[in-house]
């Protein structure tokens, strides 16, 4: 069993790397007890969930099974968790309400999308990557990120961005979603189980930037100072 993992890692190092890089921010949050901070707690849950899904996908992929269904399910959860952080960081009530309103809409949409792209739900073997959800997710997230940056430079509340964890987290998310947004719609066509379309190196870009974003998260968490310590 282990051999199949290893052979997969060796065959697909770029795809495997973020799975293990996930551990870095998780361990950092754990060691610094950063989960006392609400925002980093959400990130923590998000990363744990991502690690779980990644590991399952990784397991299935190394055993050559169709793992797409987990991916599809993780999209709405992942969106709710990441945008939740913005819900906390936004000062304006209006912006918070926008984030809240986007949750049921997006979840409903991604469910419709999953059913729409997979008329035969029971046929796991031929389960397809959702068509629109990932793209919409990227768009929404890019919107929240830009809105957050805009608010930050308007409000001038944070004296040093480089020592502010959420700035790093935001930058990581921005890079990840920017790399993903054009690839996402193609994945539906590319990642079909039976007729795999080779999009070559393109497929790797999101994985590379997933790794980059995880490293940025880790840098951000390293900036975290326990408030009770500071006192």
């Amino acid at each position: 069993m282990l051999e199949s993992y290893f052979s997969y890692i060796i065959r697909q190092p770029v795809i495997s790397a973020p799975v293990f890089l996930n551990l870095l921010p998780i361990l950092l949050i754990w060691r610094k007890r950063a989960y006392n901070d609400k925002l980093l707690l959400i990130l923590f849950v998000y990363l744990l969930l991502k690690l779980g899904v990644d590991l399952v996908m990784f397991d299935l992929a190394s055993h050559r099974k169709n793992n797409v269904v987990y991916y599809n399910v993780s999209i709405p959860i992942r969106y709710v968790l990441t945008s939740w952080m913005y819900y906390y960081e936004f000062d304006s009530k209006l912006h918070r309400r926008w984030v809240l309103a986007s949750w049921p809409l997006f979840v409903a949409f991604s469910m419709w999308d999953a059913i729409h792209t997979n008329p035969l739900m029971s046929d796991i073997h031929n389960h397809n990557v959702v068509l629109y959800s990932a793209t919409i997710e990227s768009l929404l997230m890019l919107f929240w990120i830009m809105l957050y940056f805009y608010n930050t430079i308007r409000a001038l509340k944070i004296p040093n961005l480089l020592s502010y964890p959420f700035f790093w987290i935001c930058s990581g998310l921005l890079l990840y979603y920017s790399s993903f947004i054009f690839i996402a719609p193609v994945l539906h066509y590319a990642a079909k189980w039976d007729q795999w379309m080779d999009i070559g190196t393109l497929d790797y870009i999101p994985y590379v930037f997933e790794s980059v974003s995880l490293i940025l998260f880790s840098i951000g968490i390293a900036q975290y100072r326990d408030k009770s310590y500071a006192k």
Binding site: L156, F182, T201
Partner: protein, 287 residues
């Protein structure tokens, strides 16, 4: 296959463009934020300097005004009183010659009243302008100040300094320290109902410390500042200190009373002589 390759290329270019934009956005946010903060800080600095200048001007004009009043008192009232005394002396000779007992006693009374008034005017003049401070420096001025106070109140005021010879400081700094000492001691007398006041003057290479401790009722400076009890005194101390980069700290010693410590960076007197005592000469207006 042709269109597939083209699609790949388009996607690759689009993704790279998107990423470049993302990098640009992050860099821009960082740069813009930093610039805005620097600007903010510069404006703050300018504002602070301006406020300080205003304060300095206000305090300077206060001192000038004191000098002017002292000058007028001394020159006008003082001269008049001296003349009055002279005339009274002449008058007294006449009265003595006439030999009327009652007239003579009234004469004596008027003379002593005039004498007393002259003394008062001199005292007020010297209170307004601390001449001793300008001529002999802080130690002498403080000693003179407490000497006068001890005469009128039954109080023990002790003064220590950690050096025999306190080096002369810049004029403004000495005046600041003197006025602060005056206010703190006056406060102790007015509010603390104490029996003993300790004044300590310390100096090292960088700082001058002035500590005034009383054994009275004590007070909580935070509460005073929050409530509107804060009189001009404590605020005045702070604004005087702001001009010379000084700080003040109030403590409540365990054994009761209160203690205030003012610290000011040293600023030795420059070689040039102190300003002439009465630079302000008012033009006489004849009506």
């Amino acid at each position: 296959m042709q269109s597939n390759d083209e699609l790949k290329l388009v996607l690759l270019i689009a993704s790279i463009a998107m990423l470049m934009m993302a990098f640009f956005v992050i860099a821009f946010v960082m740069y813009y934020q930093k610039k805005r903060f620097e600007e903010e800080k510069r404006i703050n600095d300018i504002e602070k300097n301006y406020n300080r200048l205003l304060l300095d001007t206000a305090l300077n004009s206060e001192e000038t005004e004191r000098r002017r009043i002292a000058q007028d008192l001394h020159d006008d009232i003082g001269t008049m009183l001296s003349l009055t005394k002279l005339s009274l002396n002449q008058l007294s000779k006449l009265v003595t010659n006439s030999g009327d007992e009652k007239e003579e006693s009234i004469m004596k009374k008027s003379q002593s009243l005039v004498e007393e008034t002259i003394l008062h005017v001199r005292r007020i003049t010297r209170d307004l302008v601390p001449t001793t401070l300008e001529r002999f420096g802080l130690m002498e001025a403080i000693e003179e100040f407490i000497h006068k106070l001890e005469e009128d109140n039954n109080l023990v005021i002790a003064f220590h300094s950690d050096t025999e010879e306190f080096p002369r400081q810049g004029q403004k700094l000495e005046l600041t320290l003197y006025r602060i000492m005056q206010e703190l001691v006056n406060n102790a007398i007015k509010h603390a109902s104490c029996t003993k006041i300790d004044i300590v003057l310390e100096i090292d290479e960088e700082m001058i410390g002035l500590r005034v401790t009383d054994n009275g009722v004590g007070f909580d400076p935070e509460k005073i500042k929050e409530s509107n009890l804060a009189g001009l005194g404590l605020l005045g101390i702070e604004s005087r200190l702001a001009i010379v980069n000084g700080t003040v700290q109030y403590e409540q010693p365990a054994k009761g009373g209160s203690s205030a410590i003012a610290r000011i960076p040293v600023n030795p007197a420059s070689g040039n002589k102190p300003e002439p005592l009465h630079p302000f000469r008012r033009e006489r207006v004849n009506i």
